[in-house]
């Protein structure tokens, strides 16, 4: 009997191995092998053609004295400081509005979510035209208020304009996350607080916002990840300009590798950027995450 169980087990092991072997092979070739390359590249200088040259931590020292790296670092922080507050406030407000709306709910939800499925290339082209100097937004602003805004042509505006685009795209999605957070807050809490004479404002600050903490942390983490991954918008609209004000990590990873042929340096930037995003997410979680329980 024991012997039979043994053979069944062995048979299952062989079957499992066979069925997963294509996937294992794939993972070795397209994940394991690149991973090894990533480590090698971080310590080498290479132009994709000659043999890689070991330069120790040369890439890392170069990185920290590279003004472009610090410009990109500043741009990314600036983007987050503009984008995260903007998208947090608007998506929480939208989530509350969703929860209050009794009619036309699906129309509202569709209008905000359809922005989220816009194609990266198409929406970049679209906003490039809408925010063009003779585009409809500037025409409207000029005709009604006499204002002209150099959305993508002024270094002080360009990154903010991208933040607006990204807010347009992601507000509905984040609002949905907040909505599911709102729905998990028990109604009794509000009833009890109202009996104690709390007004709406106190309800929001003392109950809604603290109990939305898990959704809040999640959206901030998603937004940080997003900020480190921006590529299509600056590549298509500004090419990183004006005056490098829209250069992002992805932009310099791309240009360093495939326009300047510095494979090792580009891989190093990618590692440092990933490290920075992990560090920021870690700090955010440490500072903001609170254990929320509804009992």
């Amino acid at each position: 009997m024991e012997k039979r169980i043994g053979t069944i087990k062995r048979k299952e092991n062989i079957k499992g191995f066979w069925l997963t072997s294509p996937y294992l092979l794939f993972t070795v070739i397209f994940f394991g092998y690149p991973f090894v390359w990533l480590v090698i590249l971080a310590f080498s200088k290479w132009n994709f053609i000659s043999s890689p040259q070991n330069i120790g931590i040369g890439n890392f020292t170069k990185l920290f004295s590279d003004p472009m790296f610090w410009t990109v670092f500043e741009n990314t922080i600036r983007f987050m400081l503009e984008f995260i507050p903007m998208v947090l406030v608007s998506s929480i407000a939208l989530a509350i509005a969703f929860s209050k709306a009794r009619y036309m709910r699906s129309f509202f939800a569709m209008s905000f979510l359809i922005a989220n499925v816009s194609s990266g290339v198409a929406y970049s082209i679209l906003f490039e035209q809408i925010f063009a100097s003779n585009g409809p937004v500037n025409n409207f602003l000029y005709d009604s208020f006499g204002i002209f805004i150099p959305w993508f042509s002024d270094p002080n505006w360009a990154m903010f304009s991208i933040a607006i685009m990204v807010t347009w795209k992601f507000m509905g999605y984040y609002a949905l996350i907040f909505l599911s957070g709102l729905q998990s807050i028990p109604n009794e809490l509000y009833e009890a607080a109202k009996l104690d004479g709390a007004n709406r404002w106190t309800l929001f600050w003392k109950i809604t916002l603290p109990l939305l903490n898990p959704s809040f942390v999640m959206v901030v983490v998603l937004a940080i990840t997003l900020a480190f991954g921006i590529f299509t918008e600056p590549f298509i609209i500004t090419g990183g300009g004006p005056l490098n004000s829209t250069q992002t990590f992805m932009m310099i990873i791309y240009t360093d590798a495939f326009e300047k042929y510095q494979a090792g340096y580009s891989a190093t930037i990618a590692i440092v950027a990933a490290g920075l995003s992990f560090l920021m997410i870690f700090i955010v979680r440490k500072l903001m995450e609170k254990n929320v329980s509804f009992s």
Partner: protein
């Protein structure tokens, strides 16, 4: 007093709905403007909102004149569809088989394989752009459909999603099928997949959109216009023929339509996918 309150309520409710409708329309405005503008005569694109007459000139330009300039958009559309459909099919297929092996065949290492997929998903994709390019180059796949299809044909996320969903399917179904002499593939396709239709749809939809909307990777690995997906072809065209706003907007409409259609048709699964990713 109560009457006054009642009126107040009606007024505040109508303000609320008017405000929400206004904001929704502002959110839809870019799409509406794009759609109208692609049918406008070229001199009206920046001057009027509603076209004075509809014309297909922009579409004709993008499909026929641009083709003569070396930008085959019809082929680009085909490339996008072909690559997205192929990858979607392969990802659903392989993920289902691997997910079944992990959850239902208790082989040695099944658990570590599952945990490994989670670790894989934690690492941001951009870390691997350059090394993956080197791998694809040394396999001789650059500048072909395979450069996009092969590195994307399996993935940790799909395996993770199917494993999660298959876990909840009771073993009795599988035992019954095995009694009838079914092999693993038969069980995956005739028992497991039909029972987890929404997971299959979620994995399929998000994979399709991911490949359709992919920009940086095809930009790196594909040089010839004839192998480019629509997204890259459109971006390259925009760089050299940016003055032709009408045709570029028509191209953007074509690039956007499949994604919007999939969203409208499968919105149920979109919402499920979003709420699943929250856990």
């Amino acid at each position: 007093m109560t009457a006054k309150r009642h009126y107040f309520k009606i007024i505040s409710t109508s303000i609320f709905y008017a405000f929400m409708t206004g904001i929704s329309l502002i959110w839809l405005y870019p799409y509406i403007w794009l759609f109208f503008s692609s049918f406008k005569p070229w001199d009206e694109i920046f001057t009027t909102f509603i076209p004075s007459r509809l014309t297909l000139k922009s579409y004709e330009y993008i499909f026929s004149t641009a083709n003569q300039l070396g930008f085959p958009f019809l082929l680009g559309l085909f490339n996008s569809i072909f690559m997205s459909v192929t990858v979607t099919f392969l990802v659903v297929l392989t993920s289902a088989i691997v997910g079944y092996s992990i959850t239902k065949i208790r082989f040695k290492g099944a658990n570590s394989l599952f945990n490994f997929t989670i670790y894989q998903m934690l690492l941001p994709g951009f870390m691997f752009t350059v090394p993956l390019y080197i791998v694809v180059r040394s396999l001789g796949l650059l500048d072909s459909y395979a450069a996009i299809i092969v590195p994307n044909m399996m993935g940790a996320w799909g395996v993770f999603m199917f494993s999660q969903s298959f876990k909840s399917i009771p073993d009795d179904y599988i035992e019954a099928a095995k009694m009838d002499g079914a092999n693993s593939f038969w069980i995956v396709f005739n028992v497991m997949l039909p029972l987890s239709g929404s997971t299959a749809s979620i994995v399929g939809i998000f994979t399709f959109i991911g490949i359709w909307d992919n920009f940086m990777w095809p930009l790196i690995v594909i040089q010839s216009h004839r192998f480019m997906p629509l997204s890259v072809l459109l971006a390259v065209f925009n760089q050299s023929y940016g003055v032709f706003t009408g045709p570029i907007l028509a191209g953007s409409v074509i690039q956007t339509i499949p994604m919007v259609l999939i969203f409208i048709i499968f919105r149920k699964y979109f919402l499920q996918g979003i709420s699943m990713s929250l856990k």
